[in-house]
C-alpha cells in the first residue's frame, strides 16, 4: 500500500512538473548574445533564463522556452527577450500556451497546396479561351503594378515619417523601417497595428 501511494505521488509530481517547449521566432538584424523566456499568466509573469537560441536563417532566430504543464492555461502566453552584445533588446511575438499541440512555430506548419483541378473539359475550355486568359494575365499584371504605384505614392514623405513616429510611439516598431517595397502581407499587418492603436485612441479620448 505504501509503495503504491509512493508510485502514485511520484507519477502526480512528474505530471505537474512535466515541461514542454514553446518555439518563438524573432526577427533580429544581429545574432543575440542571450535570451530570456517569459510566461505571462493572469496571475503574473515568470522568467526562464538561459533558454536555447537557434539560428534559422540570417535575421531570424528561434527561442525555445520551457513551459511547465501547470503554466499551460487559457489566457497564458509565452514571449522572449533577446539581448544583443550592444545591449539592444528584441521581443518575440506572444504565443498562446493553452494547447501544447500548438507549441511549434509556424515554420512547422505544412505549406498550403493549391488544389489544381485538371481534366479534359477544363483544358479544352481554357484552350478555346486562350486569348482571354492571356489578356486577363496582362490586365492583372498592370493592375498589380498600378496598385503598387498607388501604395508608393501614399507611403512617402511627411506621412511616412508621421507613421514611423507613431509606430515607435505606440511601441510597435518592427525590425525594418516601413516601406512600400516591403512584402504587402507584412506591411498590412504593421499598418493595421497602427490603425488599431489610432482607432482606440480616438474611441477613448
Amino acid at each position: 500500500m505504501k509503495h503504491l501511494l509512493l508510485v502514485i505521488s511520484l507519477l502526480l509530481t512528474s505530471t505537474v512538473l512535466a515541461e514542454s517547449t514553446v518555439e518563438l521566432l524573432v526577427h533580429t538584424p544581429v545574432t543575440p548574445e542571450k535570451a530570456v523566456g517569459m510566461i505571462i499568466t493572469p496571475q503574473g509573469i515568470s522568467e526562464k533564463t538561459g533558454v536555447p537560441v537557434t539560428i534559422i536563417e540570417p535575421g531570424l532566430i528561434q527561442v525555445s522556452v520551457p513551459v511547465a504543464s501547470s503554466e499551460a492555461k487559457k489566457d497564458s502566453f509565452a514571449t522572449s527577450i533577446t539581448i544583443t552584445e550592444g545591449g539592444e533588446l528584441f521581443f518575440s511575438p506572444l504565443k498562446s500556451i493553452a494547447d501544447p499541440k500548438r507549441y511549434g512555430s509556424h515554420l512547422s506548419l505544412p505549406i498550403c497546396k493549391n488544389l489544381k483541378v485538371q481534366n479534359r473539359t477544363l483544358d479544352e475550355n481554357i484552350m478555346s479561351n486562350i486569348g482571354a486568359v492571356q489578356s486577363l494575365l496582362e490586365i492583372r499584371k498592370v493592375r498589380r503594378d498600378f496598385v503598387k504605384l498607388e501604395l508608393s505614392a501614399l507611403l512617402r514623405g511627411d506621412f511616412l515619417e508621421k507613421l514611423e513616429r507613431m509606430e515607435t510611439g505606440f511601441g510597435l516598431a518592427g525590425a525594418t523601417p516601413l516601406s512600400a517595397e516591403m512584402n504587402p502581407y507584412e506591411l498590412t499587418s504593421r499598418l493595421f497595428r497602427i490603425l488599431a492603436a489610432v482607432r482606440n485612441y480616438e474611441a477613448n479620448k
Partner: protein, 190 residues
C-alpha cells in the same frame, strides 16, 4: 371586428414565436457564455477553414440577445500572429433590436486569438473565454513571378497562365489591403 381581433392576436403570437425561435437558434448556433448568466453573450466562433487570406478584412462580432442597450461598451483583446492589440468594438442594433457589436480586423498569417469584454452595465464586466484559431497550413505570402516559357506545351502554358492570374489577383488584394489602411490612416490623422 372579431375576425380582426383574432388576426391581431395570431399575428402577435407569431411574432413572439419568431423572436423566441430566432434567439434560441442564435444561442444554439453560437456559444452561450457561462460567465455571463445575467447578460448572455452569443458568439459563433470563427473556424480556421473560414479564415480569409492573410491581411484580408474579417469581422469579429457577437450579440447580446437580452438587451437593446447601446450605452454598453465592448472591446476585444486580440492577438494576431503573436501581436497583441486592444480593439474597441462598435455597437448597433440588429434587425430584431438586439445589441450587436462588431470590429474589423485583418486575417492572420497563421494564428488568431481573441477575447471579448463588455462593460457599462453597473460595475460588472462580462468576459468570454479566449477563442483560438490556428490555420492547418501555411498560406504563401510570396508575390507571383510572371514567367511563362514559350517552350512549354500549349496546354501546360495555358494552365500556368490561369494559375499566374489567380496569384496576381491575390497580390492585388494584398497591396489593396495596405492601400485601404493607409487611406483610412490619412483620413484619421488629418
Amino acid at each position: 371586428m372579431r375576425k380582426q381581433y383574432i388576426f391581431t392576436i395570431l399575428f402577435k403570437a407569431l411574432f413572439k414565436a419568431l423572436f423566441v425561435a430566432s434567439t434560441f437558434v442564435t444561442i444554439l448556433c453560437g456559444h452561450l457564455n457561462a460567465f455571463a448568466a445575467e447578460m448572455p453573450l452569443v458568439h459563433k466562433p470563427i473556424l480556421a477553414e473560414a479564415l480569409p487570406l492573410p491581411g484580408q478584412t474579417m469581422k469579429l462580432m457577437f450579440l447580446l440577445p437580452m438587451t437593446k442597450d447601446l450605452g454598453l461598451k465592448a472591446r476585444a483583446s486580440v492577438v494576431i500572429d503573436g501581436e497583441a492589440m486592444d480593439i474597441t468594438m462598435e455597437g448597433s442594433l440588429d434587425e430584431l433590436d438586439r445589441t450587436f457589436f462588431e470590429a474589423e480586423i485583418r486575417a492572420p498569417l497563421t494564428e488568431l486569438s481573441y477575447k471579448f469584454y463588455v462593460s457599462g452595465s453597473g460595475d460588472r464586466v462580462v468576459t468570454t473565454d479566449r477563442y483560438q484559431i490556428l490555420r492547418s497550413c501555411l498560406p504563401s505570402t510570396q508575390l507571383t513571378t510572371v514567367d511563362v516559357s514559350e517552350d512549354l506545351p500549349k496546354v501546360e502554358r495555358a494552365r500556368l497562365m490561369v494559375e499566374l492570374s489567380k496569384g496576381l489577383e491575390q497580390d492585388i488584394q494584398a497591396y489593396q489591403g495596405s492601400v485601404d489602411i493607409l487611406k483610412e490612416l490619412q483620413e484619421r490623422l488629418k
